[in-house]
């Protein structure tokens, strides 16, 4: 088996290990297991980066296939996750990052035979920035989702006066989770905005019109409006706690819908999977 076939399998196993470690670590209240999650994710990140670097070096832009982009997406999600985990020391964020990255890598694995490259004009600089910024913002959305979900779970327990178990106490407190949401939004929204803008500029350059009422564009604009509303409410109006956490969960779910449902089942400029399936 060639290295290019082995490494993706290894990466999936590492993400699966990280997922199992973080879940078991919290259920069994094992500090050691929770501590290993960061390093397992870091290993997965490193192998994934090597894989993509090797493909880029050996095939150039001809290697920009759907599995390549999916690994790139997974890499961005893991990279942002590692950065935020380092800043906040909250291993609980691995509960979101590890399984999401694992699922993306699994999807890439199942599509590994669909190596039809993306057309050359789409491999230019504008689309490069468009893709990387959007993928990184998706990484921050994943963290916002994870932090938001944990916030809602903890907050519900405290509001309902449910006796807080030791597992509740092992999770970050509400203020810490709210800070994670704020951090994710502070980076995620600007990156998403840059990504959208570069997408429209690239579309103008490539197809002669920036906006063509493409379903993907419509969904993306709707998502941007929701994200912008959350950004404004949070930083200009002072929203904290439950509402931004709930909105962060919705932003992530809609972005997943946009990425996997719209791109797969609708005819759009982003129908890479439909074209290859």
């Amino acid at each position: 088996m060639a290295l290019s076939e082995l490494v993706p399998i290894l990466v999936i196993h590492l993400y699966a290990l990280a997922t199992a470690a973080v879940l078991t670590g919290f259920l069994a209240r094992s500090a050691w297991l929770k501590g290993t999650v960061f390093w397992v994710l870091a290993c997965a990140f490193a192998f994934q980066a090597l894989l993509l670097g090797e493909q880029l070096f050996s095939a150039g832009v001809a290697g920009f296939s759907p599995p390549f982009y999916m690994h790139l997406l997974s890499l961005c999600v893991t990279g942002t996750g590692l950065w935020v985990c380092r800043r906040t020391s909250h291993e609980a964020l691995g509960l979101a990052v590890a399984p999401v990255s694992m699922l993306i890598c699994l999807a890439a694995f199942f599509l590994r035979h669909h190596q039809t490259p993306v057309s050359l004009p789409l491999a230019g600089m504008f689309f490069g920035v468009h893709i990387v910024t959007l993928f990184c913002s998706l990484g921050f959305m994943t963290l916002g989702f994870g932090g938001g979900l944990l916030f809602l779970l903890q907050e519900r327990a405290i509001k309902a006066k449910t006796p807080l178990t030791r597992r509740h106490k092992d999770l970050p407190d509400l203020a810490a989770l709210d800070r994670v949401n704020a951090l994710s939004l502070r980076w995620g929204f600007p990156l998403f905005t840059v990504g959208i803008l570069f997408g429209f500029v690239g579309a103008r350059l490539l197809w002669g019109e920036a906006f063509s009422e493409d379903p993907k564009e419509l969904v993306s604009l709707g998502l941007w409006a929701l994200y912008a509303s959350l950004y404004h409410q949070r930083f200009a109006r002072g929203w904290q706690g439950r509402k931004p956490a709930l909105l962060a969960v919705w932003v992530f779910l809609i972005s997943l819908f946009s990425l996997f449902v719209v791109n797969t089942f609708m005819i759009t400029h982003h129908s890479f999977f439909t074209a290859t399936l």
Binding site: I158, K161, P163, D173, L174, Q240
Partner: protein, 441 residues
């Protein structure tokens, strides 16, 4: 009619906070109840309460009395009347204890074995305060005085000989632990105490230990607020500034004795707007509650009342439960000792009744003898005097042995002694029938 120790009451196990706040006996109610036991007219046909003490805290209301068998019903009627509520509203929640059971309960309460937070120290101070008020109202006597002093010494013994109160588990400590789940580090948080009683003091101590940076104390009596604020390096505020200063605080602990709601949900909506939705945490440990329960429905606001906190601290009590078994053994020993003392208190009446018994029988026989002698001719004074001296001497000699037996029993606090003598001489029964042997003669 025979007197016993009676205890009637309700607590956090038998009644929720809404019932406890409805039947709490604030100081204003006490005089009417205390007066009842000294004014027979007020007690009326149900009378018979000799001594009375009222204990009313956020977790229990208990009336302790010495009286006859009608005393519990009388106490419940007085209680319901003092609160202006029908007796039927109270009855489903109360327990009634008598004698050794009542003593056991009181000792357990004093030793904080019956508290919502096992081992908490506040109850002893509250019991001492209740005793002070009862003595000021002159509603205690020999039994309750001894009982309460014994309760205090039992509490002290439990605290020194067991670890039931060793770990820092209390309502205010639990509140601080919850605050940490909301705010994380407490270093940049500020807190407000509404009310300046013992619970507020304890809360202030735990908050400062947790790292709260600013502390406000609000109380109707500004002087008392200043005392507490000075003690904990905080700022005292007059009660009128409560609403204005709320936006500055993250944590509010309320423990006043107010009968009306102090903080309402609509006020907090405005406060949150001024705080830009920064979260707030309210702890309401007052009964009746100071804070409108609807406050908890607001986003970013968390309200815990005293019943909610008991769930929170449950996990921390496991160790104390083990120690509580040792404490209960101490309480059982002390209850036995007190019961023996109580029974020995019944000795004096037994001695008097025994002497009356011999005297009555002596006089009876003397009268019969004088009548028989009189039938044969007038009895001269010398004969009468000699016969009376004979009866007195005989009565004294016959009573001597049982009296010595009783006094020995008193010294040894042997409750069996008086019971035996009472049975032997049938002091509780009908006047003994004429002896069958004498009838045959």
């Amino acid at each position: 009619m025979e007197q016993h120790i009676h205890l009637v009451g309700l607590n956090f196990r038998t009644a929720g906070v809404d019932v406890r706040e409805a039947f709490a006996l604030a100081d204003a109610c006490l005089p009417s109840i205390m007066a009842a036991e000294v004014t027979d007219a007020a007690v009326g046909p149900l009378g018979g309460i000799d001594e009375l003490l009222v204990l009313s805290t956020c977790n229990r209301v208990e009336l302790l009395a010495v009286g006859d068998s009608d005393t519990p019903d009388c106490l419940l009627s007085l209680w319901a009347n003092a609160k202006g509520r029908p007796l039927e509203d109270l009855l489903p929640y109360v327990y009634r204890l008598r004698g050794a059971e009542a003593v056991h309960h009181l000792f357990s309460v004093a030793a904080s074995l019956d508290s919502m937070v096992l081992g908490e120290p506040q109850i002893l101070g509250q019991l001492k305060d209740a005793y002070r008020k009862a003595t000021q109202a002159k509603s205690t006597g020999i039994v309750l005085n001894r009982l309460l002093h014994k309760a205090f010494s039992v509490a002290k013994r439990v605290r020194t000989e067991t670890a039931v109160a060793a770990s820092a588990v209390s309502i205010s400590y639990a509140a601080v632990e919850l605050a940490k789940r909301i705010f994380g580090t407490m270093e940049h948080t500020s807190a407000m105490l509404i009310g300046a009683g013992e619970m507020a003091e304890l809360a202030a101590m735990h908050l400062l230990q947790a790292g709260v940076s600013r502390l406000f104390v609000v109380n109707r009596t500004l002087e008392r607020a200043r005392e507490l604020a000075t003690q904990f390096r905080g700022e005292a505020l007059p009660f009128e500034q409560l609403a204005d200063r709320l936006p500055e605080v993250d944590i509010v602990i309320s423990s006043t004795g107010a009968s009306e709601t102090l903080i309402r949900a609509r006020q907090i909506r405005e406060v949150l707007r001024r705080r830009k939705n920064r979260p707030m945490f309210f702890i309401d440990i007052a009964v009746p509650r100071d804070i409108d329960p609807d406050v908890n429905n607001l986003d970013n606001v968390y309200l815990y009342d005293i019943d909610d906190l008991k769930e929170v601290i449950e996990e921390n009590l496991a160790h104390r439960r083990d120690e509580a078994d040792k404490a209960r053994l101490i309480v059982t020993d002390e209850v036995d000792a007190f019961t023996r003392w109580l029974e020995s208190l019944a000795l004096q009446p037994t001695i008097m009744e025994l002497l009356d018994f011999f005297e009555a029988h002596g006089k009876d026989e003397l009268s019969r003898t004088l009548r028989r002698l009189g039938a044969q001719g007038p009895v001269d004074a010398a004969t009468r005097e000699a016969l009376e001296a004979l009866v007195r001497g005989l009565t004294r000699k016959l009573a001597h042995a049982p009296l010595m037996f009783l006094k020995q029993a008193q010294r040894e606090q042997d409750s069996g002694g008086p019971r035996l003598v009472r049975r032997l001489f049938n002091l509780d029964g009908q006047r003994p029938a004429r002896c069958a042997f004498r009838n045959k003669e």
